[in-house]
Amino acid sequence: MVVNVTLLQAQNVRKLYGGFCALDDVTLSINDGEHVSIIGPNGAGKTTLVNVLTGLVRPTAGNVTFKGHNVVNLGAVRLARLQLVNIFPQLSVGETIAVAAISHLRHGERFFSSTARNRPVWEIVERVAAIFGFSGKLDQPAKILSQGDKKLLDVASAFALSPEIILLDEPTSGVSTADKSTIMRVLVQAARQMGIKAIIQIEHDMDIVFGYSNRIIAVHNGRILADGSPASIRARADVMATIVGRQRDHA
């Protein structure tokens, strides 16, 4: 992956909810090849930041651009975002991935042709399923999958959009330690195989943050407290005390 080509840029972003300032003068850029972890205590503004970066929430001031275009006007096809375990319980694994593949191929308006016979859609489904280990489970309803597989399916469906950047809101929360490393390993591998240019993830688990990211952004009270490599963040005693220490206290 080529580093230092700016994909996503936020400039002087401010987000107010009534009188509460969730984000205050945030400026950052996400570059090609980066795996960015956003860390911070609860209520720091991490989710608001991801929402603003994906265009899901409009900033009160400032702007966010993806390759020079305002993110508000971009669809999920360019920036995929996912959250906790978020599945379609009654849909099969194959159908779940197919929903994303249809969006990616812009086949949503094909009202008179059978989805089951839509070869391009099922080629994407098979490719993504193979990467995520779902090849033998395409007809299984999503609701009967294990918690770890549900999480993986959630990630897989977002990958089927073939986005350039993927934003993950705590992709490993609520799963066992063993599943966490499986999910992260598969996720990073899939990103490489599918040519995803950057990963941004909100994460509380510091082992994952320091084990997988090549850049960490620490957020506190709606502001960026620190932004740098894992080594440089580890060297910042104030950040470690404010964010990592606080999380250990909570734990």
């Binding site: 999920a76 929903v99 070869r119």
Partner: protein, 332 residues
């Protein structure tokens, strides 16, 4: 990357297009087709109405079974169909095809603005808003006597067919003969069309919306757009059903827009099984005949229906079709 056709073939084999799965609707349609040969005129007329309800329910189930939006006001579209037939036949425009086309045009035109407002809401809010619109129409039909005939309604003459000369035939012969088979052909056509729609990307996206709206949005599904599409298609099926239901009655009156009518439609869906594509067809047929028989036995038929509804919800949550189609070939 696997590019073989095997998994695609495996996928299609599990869908309802397999030959064994087709036996279910084929049997149902065969029963309806041969019905005029084996049953008396009273029952054939009942089947005529059941076909009208089945068409309306196919549309309603796109909204409820596939999209997860329960409308308590779908009767408004039946009323639009019935009154269109009433107005047109009373002005001597009796061509059935033309009546259907005008009804579809009016139904779709009315459905777009109402749908735009309703699809902003889900669950009880959607249901109540649809009910409110239906009751508004009911009040209008009831109160604006000079336009709608008030509680007396508008009489509907038996329509004529472009490709079938009906002159010389009495009303009963038309309803149990040419018009019956015309409506039957329409039912088969509209069922095939609905199957086509539900098997397409529209069907999958609607099911995704039903299952998890937020996730569907994240995956790039235009939730409001497809909800509106489902609402308008349901409305079109509703008006077509309304035209057909009103013909054997010979009258379009406000009761067709009343909330009880919408309640009956929901009952039929639950009876047949809203989780099954064929549920609306079976639900309509069973409901109409069962209601007819029950009404002739007891004046407390509504009470009996209530008990049956409770039993269906408790023992057969997927309706009669869910119990018949155990392999889920036609599951929504």
């Amino acid at each position: 990357m696997t590019t073989s056709t095997a998994p695609i073939a495996a996928r299609t084999a599990t869908t309802a297009t397999s030959k064994r799965a087709l036996a279910l609707p084929a049997l149902l349609f065969l029963l309806i087709f041969i019905f005029p040969f084996v049953a008396g005129p009273h029952y054939v007329i009942l089947m005529f109405s059941a076909m009208g309800y089945a068409i309306a329910l196919l549309g309603l189930n796109l909204l409820f079974g596939y999209t997860g939006l329960l409308s308590l006001g779908h009767a408004m579209f039946l009323a639009i169909g019935a009154y269109t037939a009433g107005y047109m036949t009373s002005t001597r425009i009796t061509n059935f095809e033309l009546i259907l086309l005008v009804a579809v045009a009016i139904g779709a035109t009315v459905a777009v603005p109402i749908g735009l407002l309703c699809i902003r809401y889900v669950k009880i809010y959607f249901a109540m808003l649809a009910l409110a619109f239906s009751m508004l129409l009911y009040s209008f039909l009831f109160k604006f006597y000079h336009l709608t005939g008030g509680d007396e309604g508008i009489r509907i003459k038996v329509p004529s067919l472009t490709a079938w000369d009906l002159s010389g035939l009495d009303t009963l012969s038309v309803l149990t003969g040419p018009l019956y088979y015309y409506v039957f052909a329409l039912l088969v056509l509209l069922t095939a069309l609905m199957r086509c729609l539900t098997s397409s990307s529209l069907g999958l996206q609607l099911r995704a919306i039903r299952e998890n709206q937020q996730k569907a949005e994240y995956l790039g599904v235009n939730v409001k757009r497809y909800r509106l599409v489902a609402f308008v298609i349901a409305a079109v099926y509703g008006v077509l059903g309304g035209v057909i239901i009103a013909i054997p009655v010979g009258l379009a009156d406000p009761s067709i827009a009343y909330w009880v009518q919408s309640g009956n439609l929901i009952f039929m869906l639950l009876l047949g099984g809203y989780t099954n594509f064929l549920g609306p067809l079976l639900g309509a047929v069973v409901f109409i005949f069962f209601q007819d028989q029950l009404m002739s036995f007891t004046e407390y038929w509504r009470l009996t229906f209530g008990v049956i509804l409770v039993m269906i919800v408790v023992f057969f949550p997927n309706g009669l079709m869910g119990a018949i189609d155990r392999r889920g070939w036609w599951s929504t």
